[in-house]
């Protein structure tokens, strides 16, 4: 749903107790058995119903509209012409679309990469420092993790405010020329601010996951390695990283999926004052096409592209969750 931190927190909160239940059908009377056979389907009706209405219908509408010429005229009742893949072809040959894709990918890799590095570092710190210090670090991480995304954006907009922002004051104080510097005007520094916010917000999730994994690395193994003369770096790359690799892989995958669809942060920074066409990522481009220029055909085509990309990337994650569901 949203890219809010709370959703990130829970995304790995999955199998707590994964026990396969025994079927108890065999002792039941025939009538009960019939009831038992249809019961699960009845139980699924409300959930499936709401998903079909709120996601299924729009999805199908979008799929059809992405193959129609659906613009402002159609908004006012003109029937839409079916154009098959013309919208997709127009997009594929539009250099601006490629710019947006490139921007989104670059942003995603920088943000996800930095988040992984910083988050892993913080996770390792949590597991090595004294108890008191660890609690201080964990409280700090938790508060950041809990921040609602829009509130976080107002804070960072204030920190980077061109006139009285903390960041400009600090940099000017260090002797650099940042007096009344506007960070959001230049696309590069615009995205730097955006990435900084995303990294700041996502680090706690990575840190806690890494920490949770590290806690399970047996201390004896590390001690044994240390006695055998393995240095800190060797212990990290030779023992710790291989042991928490499954966690790192899933967390990285989730970061990539989440950062690829970044919307709220970029949209709010655009609102604060920058040229949208120079800072659009996939999400904001869809928004602009749909609500700004009422070009629903093209907007739908870009949306379908984003959905396909997400589903492809999610397949790995879903596979690991399903495997867990199957395990007794």
């Amino acid at each position: 749903m949203t890219s809010s931190e709370a959703s990130r927190s829970s995304a790995l909160l999955t199998g707590t107790g994964l026990r396969r239940e025994r079927a108890v059908d065999d002792t039941l009377a025939p009538r009960r058995r019939t009831r038992r056979r249809i019961a699960p389907y009845v139980l699924l009706i409300p959930a499936v119903g709401i998903l079909v209405i709120a996601l299924g219908y729009p999805l199908i509408w979008q799929l059809i509209t992405s193959m129609q010429k659906f613009g402002l005229a159609q908004q006012f009742g003109k029937p839409a012409d079916f154009v098959w893949f013309a919208n997709y072809i127009a997009l594929a040959t539009d250099p601006y679309m490629w710019t947006v894709i490139g921007r989104s990918l670059a942003f995603c890799f920088v943000a996800a990469g930095c988040t992984m590095v910083v988050g892993t570092l913080f996770g390792v710190l949590m597991s090595t420092v004294n108890r008191g210090v660890r609690i201080v670090l964990q409280i700090s991480m938790l508060l950041v993790w809990a921040m609602p995304v829009v509130a976080a954006m107002t804070i960072w907009t204030w920190l980077f405010d061109w006139h009285r922002g903390m960041v400009n004051w600090l940099l000017t104080g260090m002797g650099l020329d940042f007096h009344d510097h506007s960070w959001l005007q230049n696309p590069i520094s615009f995205f730097a601010v955006g990435a900084l916010v995303v990294i700041w917000m996502s680090t706690p999730f990575v840190a806690f996951c890494v920490y949770a994994g590290l806690v399970q690395v047996p201390g004896e193994v590390l001690e044994a390695a240390e006695m055998d003369g393995a240095g800190a770096r060797q212990r990290f790359w030779g023992i710790i990283v291989p042991m928490i690799r499954p966690i790192l892989a899933i967390v990285l995958l989730l970061q990539v999926i989440w950062d690829l669809r970044v919307f709220t942060q970029i949209k709010l920074l655009q609102d604060a004052g920058s040229i949208a066409s120079e800072t659009n990522v996939l999400g904001t481009y869809i928004y602009q096409l749909g609500t700004g220029s009422s070009d629903f055909g093209t907007a739908s085509a870009v949306s379908i592209f984003v959905l396909l990309l997400t589903i492809m990337l999610s397949a790995f994650y879903v596979r690991s969750l399903v495997r867990e569901d199957d395990e007794p």
């Binding site: 909160l13 004294n130 700090s140 949770a212 966690i247 919307f263 949306s303």
Partner: protein, 288 residues
């Protein structure tokens, strides 16, 4: 591990350990600073915030900004809107997800696997990939700018993950308990209500808080569905404060007070379920 083995190399680990501790404290301070800055600025009058040197401590601070924001006339309607939408989302979502989770964790049926798979994929779908279509749908049934319209979309967005969450909790309660109660003469429904349901309460609370946080924080869908200034949720209301902040004078004290008001319930709820989250995190991720 005995001290004697380590003793020759003791001096070095101690200094490096000190450095690591120091690094951790610095990291904690740097990360928490923006949150501190929000509260600090919220307490200070705008005159002070607009003076050349930032005030690092809220000396001479007051709750004036909070009073101004709450009394501004737009906060309470937005709060009401957010509470109503979040409430509807939590209640409906828990009910729908509970029934579905029951089906997939207590029954083996044809199509179960496909349903689980579908739920997991749907849960990953980005709001940005569907919101234009959802906007068109809501417009065509005249549900734009309505609590019902946005609630339906929120329930659908939150239900998949809630199903997955509750499935874990229900599966964690052995069916044997129910069976034993049934041997003692309770019907299946009675056994479930009297035995399993009370054990499930913590799971329902955690899932409910998850649904609440989602609905409370949601921005993307609200942006397209709620377009009137009169019907805004808190995130949209907060957005109004920073729009065009590069070109107009902004009372940052009030913006930070507004942000604090939006963030506080979230932080409280989040810390409330945090223990469950981190413990679930371990068992979930390690298997992966």
């Amino acid at each position: 591990m005995t001290a004697s083995i380590r003793s020759p190399r003791r001096a070095k680990p101690r200094t490096s350990r000190l450095l690591l501790n120091l690094l951790a404290v610095v990291a904690a301070l740097v990360w928490i600073f923006p949150v501190y800055w929000m509260v600090n600025s919220a307490l200070l009058p705008n005159v002070l915030l607009q003076s050349g040197t930032p005030a690092f401590l809220p000396f001479g601070g007051s709750l004036d900004n909070f009073v101004a924001v709450v009394g501004g006339g737009t906060f309470l309607p937005a709060l009401g809107m957010s509470v109503m939408i979040a409430g509807i989302t939590v209640v409906c979502c828990l009910f729908f997800a509970f029934l579905a989770a029951l089906a997939i964790s207590r029954f083996r049926f044809r199509g179960r696997k496909s349903f689980v798979l579908a739920v997991l994929f749907v849960q990953m779908l980005p709001a940005e990939g569907l919101f234009i279509a959802q906007y068109k749908m809501m417009a065509s049934v005249h549900l734009l700018n309505t609590v019902l319209g946005i609630s339906v979309l929120y329930i659908a967005a939150v239900v998949p993950f809630t199903i997955w969450m509750l499935r874990g909790f229900i599966a964690g309660i052995p069916a044997d308990l129910e069976e034993a109660a049934m041997v003692d003469g309770l019907s299946r429904t009675q056994a479930f209500l009297r035995i399993t349901f009370p054990l499930l309460a913590p799971g329902l609370v955690a899932s409910g808080v998850y649904a609440f946080l989602q609905a409370w924080n949601e921005f993307t869908v609200a942006l397209v569905i709620l377009q009137k200034n009169a019907d805004q949720t808190l995130p949209l209301w907060l957005r109004g404060f920073i729009q065009q902040s590069t070109s107009k004078a902004i009372d940052w004290g009030q913006v930070m007070a507004a942000s604090t008001l939006v963030a506080v319930p979230v932080i409280v709820f989040f810390l409330f379920v945090q223990g469950r989250m981190t413990s679930g995190l371990v068992s979930g991720a390690v298997k992966g």
